[in-house]
């Protein structure tokens, strides 16, 4: 039978070691006193989504085209989009209303993953307390729109990748456009004589999907 209380004394030794080392070893006391001192947020952290715009004017430079892919992919259904219309009632490719209810949002990032225009991204701001729990947490389009520079500030690595991807996409589109113009010019040059009308290509019917019983 060993000495009763030996285990307890050993444990006290560990506690004492931790206590004294916490004064001079950072890994023994990794906490910070929050409101006075703030820990740095790492650039990969995510919180709530925001919308990106290019250029100076938030509304003109808006990347969002109101395709509603994010609205449909959102698991708790916290995104609400209404498409914009011009004075003739024709739809414009931009949202008139784009609301995100941050009291419902669960920061899952699925909206970011489905967006084909790199228009929606995750913010990492965290001090979002508000006096009004209904309207205060429901962010509208103007509150959500943030410039690309802000994105570079909070997620530098991801923003650079996004910019590279967008530049590659734009270059590809430009090349395609040039090729189309070239083809159009060529076609105009050796235009068939009038009277010999080209038949418009018939539209292919989409293949019918088999219905499961």
């Amino acid at each position: 039978m060993s000495l009763i209380g030996k285990g307890i004394l050993k444990g006290m030794g560990v506690t004492a070691k931790n206590f004294f080392q916490s004064y001079y070893r950072k890994e023994r006391l990794p906490t910070v006193e929050y409101p006075e001192e703030k820990a740095t947020i790492n650039q990969f952290s995510r919180n709530f989504p925001f919308l990106l715009y290019d250029g100076d004017d938030p509304v003109d430079g808006m990347r969002c085209t109101a395709c509603t892919l994010c609205e449909r992919a959102c698991p708790p259904q916290c995104i609400y989009i209404i498409k914009d219309k011009d004075e003739n009632g024709k739809a414009i490719l931009s949202p008139r209303i784009f609301d995100i209810d941050t009291s419902v949002c669960m920061s899952c990032q699925l909206c970011v993953e489905v967006c084909p225009y790199e228009a929606i991204r995750m913010d990492s701001a965290f001090e979002l307390s508000n006096e009004n729990r209904f309207e205060g947490l429901l962010l509208n389009r103007e509150e959500l729109l943030k410039p690309n520079a802000y994105y570079h500030e909070i997620h530098p690595l991801e923003a650079r990748e996004t910019d590279d991807r967008m530049a590659a996409k734009a270059a590809l589109a430009e090349a395609k456009k040039k090729a189309r113009q070239k083809r159009a010019r060529l076609a105009a040059k050796n235009k068939p004589p009038p009277g010999l009308k080209k038949t418009p290509p018939t539209r292919k019917k989409p293949p019918q999907r088999e219905k499961s019983e």
Partner: protein, 383 residues
């Protein structure tokens, strides 16, 4: 092994005791600090002895399964984080595994390794927390718990860099993982894994020989081998009772057949065994992590998953060894992008069924540590 026998009923005198005093009924919880969430135990006490116990739960019911039957398959992934909110990664993996069985997606090598790394890190997180709270329930208020939380914090920081969030990770996707670890992540992971055994040694010096813990936890809440099988316990609970059953070894899902590790098994099935099995399991996790980080290959992280996930009619059950036990997702597809049936087999809910049996005849203070040793998370029990 002898054939499984039914448990003999434990009978206790209910009504009046020898001195004519009444049996006291106590509702312990739902707002009780030791019930680990909103959980209630309706106790019948004879003095301080528990003569009957009824677990009451459902306070955190969030309709997880029914919501999942209303949305498409990939949209359920972030909801699975909220089941066992301490181990988001393993929940993600279990769901992805069953969905991959449903549509037969091949997962690339690198993604499999990353999954193993994050799952074993999650096991460290969970067991750290469990042991901290177990000692907290025993009365060592604060200090050992905070040492455990301090280690857990380092791993959560790793998760934040990898996935963007500390707990609600939403990292694993059907056919792979969401993104590649950024530069320097593996190095940091290696550093934390290498430093972890030192923490375990310190923690064992602090606790495992402590006479108070031994006196309080040994021979308390005993579940024998046969009873453990009858209650269909899984995970560390089952292994503490002496049954060698680990789904990582039995099923060999993912790439667990490539790693060299042992399954710790207890001998008595009491609270102390459950505590020690988890301590030893952490050492084995560190062993797996070292091998996985060493062997991590280069390559793709996403397999060829279809853009619109529309499985053929059929069913699939994917299960993994989550830190708490067998976590399974049962999916039935009717050919639409929305599951027809979505069933979760949560380990802590099934392990909770043994609570009454374990507590009968013990004191109230023991009921608290027995509940602590089961390792329940109410997000998973109530779903």
């Amino acid at each position: 092994m002898s054939p499984v026998q039914t448990m003999p009923p434990r009978s206790y005198h209910i009504g009046k005791d020898d001195l004519g005093a009444d049996i006291l009924e106590v509702a312990m919880g739902p707002h009780h600090p030791s019930t680990h969430g909103v959980f209630r135990m309706d106790l019948k006490l004879d003095g301080e002895t528990v003569v009957d116990l009824k677990p009451v739960f459902g306070y955190l019911h969030r309709n997880h399964e029914k919501i999942a039957e209303d949305i498409t398959y990939p949209m359920s992934m972030p909801f699975t984080d909220r089941l066992d909110y301490l181990c988001g990664m393993t929940n993600n993996w279990a769901y992805a595994l069953s969905a991959e069985k449903l549509i037969e997606i091949k997962v690339p090598e690198r993604a499999e390794y990353i999954r193993v790394i994050v799952a074993e890190l999650t096991r460290l997180v969970n067991h750290c927390l469990l042991i901290g709270f177990f000692v907290n329930d025993l009365g060592a208020l604060g200090t050992p718990l905070l040492y455990a939380l301090r280690e857990r914090e380092k791993i959560l920081d790793l998760f934040e860099v990898l996935s963007g969030a500390r707990m609600m990770v939403n990292y694993i996707r059907f056919g792979g993982v969401r993104c590649d670890p950024p530069d320097g992540w593996l190095k940091e992971c290696q550093r934390i894994v290498d430093a972890f055994p030192a923490f375990l040694d310190e923690y064992e010096t602090l606790l495992t020989e402590n006479e108070i813990i031994i006196a309080r936890a040994q021979n308390v809440g005993v579940v024998t081998r046969e009873e453990a099988i009858n209650f269909s316990l899984t995970g560390p609970m089952l292994r503490a009772s002496g049954v060698n059953y680990d789904i990582r070894k039995v099923d060999r899902y993912g790439i667990y057949d490539r790693f060299d590790f042992k399954v710790p098994i207890g001998g008595h099935g009491d609270c102390y065994d459950r505590f020690m099995v988890r301590m030893l399991e952490m050492r084995q996790s560190v062993k797996i992590l070292k091998q996985a980080i060493r062997d991590l290959p280069e390559g793709e992280i996403m397999g060829k998953a279809p853009k619109i996930f529309r499985p053929a009619p059929g069913e699939a059950y994917g299960r993994i060894e989550a830190p708490k036990g067998e976590l399974g997702f049962y999916l039935i597809s009717d050919g639409t992008p929305i599951p027809y049936r979505f069933k979760v087999r949560p380990p802590s809910f099934v392990n909770l069924t043994a609570l009454r049996h374990m507590c009968l005849g013990h004191k109230v203070a023991d009921a608290v540590i027995i509940l602590g040793s089961i390792d329940i998370v109410l997000g998973e029990v109530d779903r």
